[in-house]
């Protein structure tokens, strides 16, 4: 056993994916430099002062590398064998954390050991990824074979989500939801993604364009109705491949539209909600009638889409107006540009945009960023670290960082696709999903594209938990990948 391990150790470094390791090292080093810049004060101590963020981060990096090496030296089979136990332990820790963690700005997600604080949610990611991989690796497991398979996968994903939500750490919880992308890779219908995308679009359009009124309803809602009708027709035509029905429905819709236009020109106003709902109902009944007569089921999804869309649209208004808290409404409004609240919810994003925007093409130069140095940008060494890069290194620097991340993600997808067994592939896709989600949301919020969800930029943001979490995530993948040839034998 002893000698085997040593052999494995040597072979690991031989077949290690060094491109990923290189990208990881560049990103981590760039992160440390950025943290140094972000926390640099004009009366600053040295880079290696352990009291400073940058000094501590260097310590975290050192420990991360150590963890990485240890992970690589461990037998790859351990991860698969102990996937569920690891998952269970992590769930337990997450559960315990809810009760014993001190209250930090309302969240109970940090465990404190002396002077070191750790966030278990960061370590839940690799455990969940392992468990999900293990599930898909079960004998003859096929996601679409039984509906319970979906439930099993969703339970693995949502257990930590629930626990983390209970810790009031919404941002981290959302990250786990990105694992649904993995289900897509493993055969989940694209319609789900389509539905989610539609829901987001409908929500944004309906909330953002409240003025002016068309047919007595907000123009946003009006547009959503039009889009639903259009998609309905297009789905009939291309998804169900039934041109005749699509044509008839189109004639019906257009005809009704012409009549309503003429009526409103004559001064008779028609309530838009009732008009569109009625119109769609007529289209659905027509399709249903056709479907039942010819005993074919291909229209079910299309009909479901239309029904769900309309119900969703109705519920958006209700949820937005009656369920969301005022501060949540405010965040959404600020994000959608309906309101500018530069002192409150919009302050962070506005300052962040100012910092990045003032960077220009090549930036103000290393350590010359005034906005980040003078603490205008909140959380500048953690969640808003990208600001420092944008301000000091400009568009060029920010683009290079994005390119590095893109390179890493593409490389990891490549690595994922070369895995021969579901366990490794699913695990790899989990890593990819989590990285993409972090990157998209973090950079998105810093440049004002998505709401401010407090999640770190991988490898850059200051913090031991986050860096260790990503290191573990990545190095387990590297370890699994390094042994893929062994498994082929």
């Amino acid at each position: 056993m002893e000698s085997r391990n040593t052999d494995a150790g040597i072979s690991v470094f031989k077949s290690l994916d060094w491109i990923t390791v290189l990208l990881y090292l560049i990103l981590v080093a760039a992160g440390a430099v950025s943290i140094y810049a972000a926390s640099y004060d004009f009366d600053n101590a040295s880079l290696f002062d352990l009291k400073e963020f940058s000094g501590k981060q260097i310590m975290w990096i050192g420990l991360s590398l150590l963890i990485g090496v240890v992970i690589l030296l461990v037998d790859y089979r351990i991860y698969k064998i102990y996937a569920y136990p690891i998952y269970m332990v992590v769930l337990f820790v997450l559960l315990v954390t809810i009760f014993i963690a001190p209250d930090i700005k309302g969240s109970h997600s940090w465990l404190t050991f002396g002077s070191v604080s750790l966030q278990p949610a960061e370590f839940g990611k690799f455990a969940t990824a392992l468990a999900l991989g293990k599930l898909f690796d079960s004998y003859n497991f096929n996601l679409n074979a039984k509906i319970t398979n979906y439930f099993q996968a969703l339970i693995i994903i949502f257990l930590p989500v629930i626990l983390i939500l209970a810790q009031r750490e919404t941002g981290s919880a959302l990250v786990y939801i990105s694992l649904i992308f993995v289900l897509y890779r493993e055969g989940m219908s694209g319609l789900v993604l389509f539905a989610v995308l539609s829901a987001i679009t409908f929500f944004v359009v309906a909330v953002k364009f409240a003025e002016p009124l068309v047919l007595g309803i907000p123009v946003g809602e009006f547009s959503v109705f039009i889009v639903i009708l259009l998609i309905y027709i297009l789905m009939l035509a291309f998804y169900c491949k039934d041109i005749i029905i699509a044509r008839n429905v189109t004639y019906g819709f257009v005809g009704a539209g012409v009549i309503v236009t003429i009526l409103s020109l004559c001064g008779i106003t028609v309530n838009g909600t009732w008009f569109f709902t009625g119109l769609l109902a007529a289209g659905i009944i027509y399709t249903l009638f056709f479907m039942l007569r010819h005993q074919i089921n291909k229209f079910i999804i299309t009909i479901c889409f239309a029904v769900v869309s309309v119900l969703f649209l109705f519920s958006v208004n209700y949820v937005y107006g009656n369920v969301l808290q005022p501060h949540q409404q405010m965040r959404i409004k600020v994000l959608l540009g309906i309101e500018e609240n530069l002192r409150g919810a919009g302050y962070n994003v506005n300052q962040s945009k100012i910092a990045i925007g003032s960077g220009g093409l090549i930036g103000k130069g290393f350590l010359n960023g005034t906005q980040t140095k003078l603490k205008y940008v909140p959380e500048q060494h953690t969640d808003f670290i990208f600001c420092t890069i944008g301000e000091e290194e400009g568009f060029v620097g920010a683009a290079i960082v994005l390119a590095l991340f893109l390179g890493l993600i593409l490389r990891l997808i490549h690595v994922a696709e070369r895995q021969r067994t579901p366990f490794e592939r699913v695990y790899a896709y989990c890593v990819v999903s989590i990285l993409i989600f972090h990157l998209a949301i973090n950079v998105g919020m810093v440049i004002g594209l998505c709401p401010v969800i407090g999640i770190p930029l991988p490898f850059f943001s200051y913090g031991g938990s986050s860096l260790w979490g990503f290191t573990i995530l990545l190095f387990i993948l590297l370890r699994l990948d390094a042994s893929r040839k062994e498994r082929m034998d």
């Binding site: 925007g357 003032s358 920010a398 994005l402 993600i409 593409l410 993409i436």
Partner: protein
């Protein structure tokens, strides 16, 4: 393991799509839009103004008149303010608890104090006296978060010349709108030369570009201060005023309403510009400024009103020399022309006069201030045979304007009045088209009727006679450090009247001193020339006026005195005028004339004269 090859391409779409959106957005933010750069600068840069010291003011003999003294302001940083005893603070500052509460509320009121931030220094009390400063510094440890900031305020060496010097106030919104130089909280000159020479006195503010963090804390100079601008100190002014003479004039005018203007004829420099009642210039400095200003505004004797250049009075008989000049120049009279005076001008109407020989020629007429002579002269000029009605009067008016009447002279002080010299059009409208002749407006000839002149204009006439035919625009600033005064004060103005006529008028005025109405001005070793004036007015007793210059040859001072409701020119005008002349030329008053000085110090013409409206 299915769909491997199709899916392989999806990765570019997933990863690439997100990166692309981010890149487009970044491009927009960083290169497309410049507003963020500006926001960043206004965010992080704190442009701290460095105030220059305001120019000092000296008198013509280089005596320091106005300088800067340290003033103190109580400042605090709200977030650092800890628990303190309000009552102790109130007693140290000498204010009531309510006043403190009010100041506190004003400080936090974003409308009154737009720059309020809990993290930056805020001004609680301005104009802390030296004494209160001492008391507060001793107890400052009791008030965490408080500190004292030094500023400067004006200080005056003499309690004199407030009307000339003016004062300083905080800029108003209008000032800020009119001049981009000013920022809220800056000071600007109000009244006097502080106002008219504001640009020279204020200097140029400097600026220090500091970096401030999100909490408003200063984090040092931006790029070690290479973008800073140093302030330029305000220019010092040297006045033409003799501050001792000014002070002396103000003392003579004590308890009287009126003005004294003394001019150096050969330069047009004003030696003294007294208005009475006056006020102590230091009243308008410091925290009492607002209160005192309101008090001065409410004072029924209007001390803020500069009678020397804002007051327009009937010049009375001080007008007669100018009439004599016009008659001579126009050939209406020559020096031998005699007019009858039987206790007045009797020609269909009667203008009274007093007892003297008759008939009378110009010089004795000036000597005795004969009304009839000037009425006859005026009549013969205006109603000159063979001239169209009104033409001669226009000519007369032009002479008056040349002599500096009817328009602002252009003194370098604000709010000068133009007085009033009517023209033909004015009378044609007054008489509604009816024919009017010299007799209709005969009182004009003796400086009454519609004629209005400021003491400054009256003094300027005197200076012109002293110069025998020219004047410089009177001004109070002699020199501006490292700069030159306005060229208009270096231009000679010459009324179109021959020098010899001035010589004759000067002789008449000399005779008035030797043996006429101005005998009190006859100094043993100075040849004084003078002319009294006793102006009727609708406000009560006659105004007492005097013009005079000395010495007769090569005059060094021309003076006009105007005392409201004080009776005969000889009673107040002559003594005051002659004392001013004597003081200026001799430096002191001869012992045999001290009684005059005493009489002026102790007289009071305000009592019983009623309050006048202007």
């Amino acid at each position: 393991m299915r769909k491997d090859y199709n899916l392989e391409k999806r990765k570019y779409i997933i990863g690439g799509f997100i990166t692309l959106i981010d890149l487009i957005r970044l491009f927009n933010l960083q290169i497309g839009d410049t507003k963020y750069k500006e926001s960043a600068e206004s965010n992080a840069f704190f442009r701290r103004v460095i105030y220059p010291s305001r120019g000092l003011i000296y008198d013509r003999n280089d005596k320091l008149v106005v300088f800067n003294k340290p003033a103190y302001e109580v400042m605090l940083i709200p977030k650092d303010v800890g628990e303190f005893d309000t009552l102790t603070l109130c007693s140290v500052l000498g204010i009531t608890k309510e006043q403190l509460a009010e100041r506190w509320a004003d400080m936090k009121n974003p409308r009154k104090n737009p720059g309020y931030s809990a993290y930056t220094p805020q001004k609680l009390i301005s104009h802390l006296s030296q004494e209160d400063y001492g008391k507060l510094s001793e107890k400052l440890y009791l008030f965490p978060g408080f500190y004292i900031q030094k500023r400067t305020a004006r200080e005056y060496t003499f309690n004199a010349g407030a009307n000339i010097l003016g004062n300083i106030r905080e800029v108003s919104t209008t000032d800020i709108d009119n001049d981009r130089y000013y920022r809220r909280g800056d000071y600007t000159g109000d009244l006097g030369i502080e106002k008219s020479y504001e640009k020279a006195l204020r200097g140029q503010k400097g600026v220090e570009i500091l970096m401030k963090d999100a909490f408003g804390r200063i984090k040092g100079k931006y790029e070690d201060g290479i973008h800073d601008e140093l302030p330029v100190a305000g220019r010092n002014l040297k006045l033409s005023i003799d501050i001792e003479l000014q002070k002396y004039g103000e003392e003579l005018m004590r308890n009287k309403i009126g003005a004294i203007v003394a001019i150096e004829p050969e330069t047009g420099e004003i030696l003294a510009l007294v208005t009475s009642p006056n006020y102590d210039p230091s009243l308008l400095v410091g925290k009492e400024r607002g209160k005192n200003y309101a008090m001065l505004t409410r004072d029924p004797y209007k001390p803020l009103y500069d009678r020397a250049l804002q007051g327009a009075y009937p010049p009375g008989s001080t007008f007669k020399p100018s009439q004599g000049l016009i008659f001579l120049q126009e050939g209406i009279v020559d020096l031998s022309t005699m007019y009858p005076c039987h206790h007045g001008y009797i020609n269909g109407l009667r203008v009274g006069c007093h007892g003297h020989a008759s008939p009378i020629s110009l010089k004795p007429a000036l000597q005795t201030s004969c009304n009839a002579y000037f009425c006859w002269g005026f009549k013969n000029m205006i109603d000159k045979k063979g001239t169209k009605p009104g033409v001669q009067f226009e000519k007369w008016k032009d002479y008056m304007v040349q002599m500096g009447y009817g328009y602002r002279l252009g003194v370098d002080l604000p709010h000068e009045s133009r007085g009033f010299i009517p023209n033909t059009k004015f009378y044609s409208e007054s008489f509604r088209g009816a024919n009017w002749t010299a007799n209709s407006i005969i009182s004009v000839s003796i400086g009454q009727g519609e004629i209005m002149a400021t003491p400054l204009q009256i003094a300027n006439l005197c200076a012109t006679i002293a110069n025998r035919g020219y004047f410089y625009t009177p001004h109070v600033v002699k020199e501006i450090a490292d700069s030159a005064i306005d060229v208009k004060y270096k231009e000679k103005h010459r009324p179109k009247i021959d020098k010899k006529h001035y010589e004759a008028v000067a002789e008449g005025m000399r005779m008035a001193v030797l043996g006429g109405t101005c005998k009190l001005a006859n100094l043993p070793d100075i040849e004084v020339c003078g002319k009294t004036g006793t102006a009727q007015n609708p406000h009560g007793r006659d105004h007492s006026a005097f013009i005079g210059f000395a010495p007769y040859h090569n005059p060094k001072i021309a003076v006009a005195v105007y005392v409201e409701n004080a009776g005969f020119g000889a009673t107040y005008g002559v003594p005051i005028g002659s004392l001013i002349i004597e003081k200026y030329l001799k430096g002191e008053i001869a012992s045999n004339r001290k009684y005059l000085e005493e009489r002026m110090y102790n007289s009071n013409t305000i009592i019983g004269s009623g309050v006048k409206k202007h």
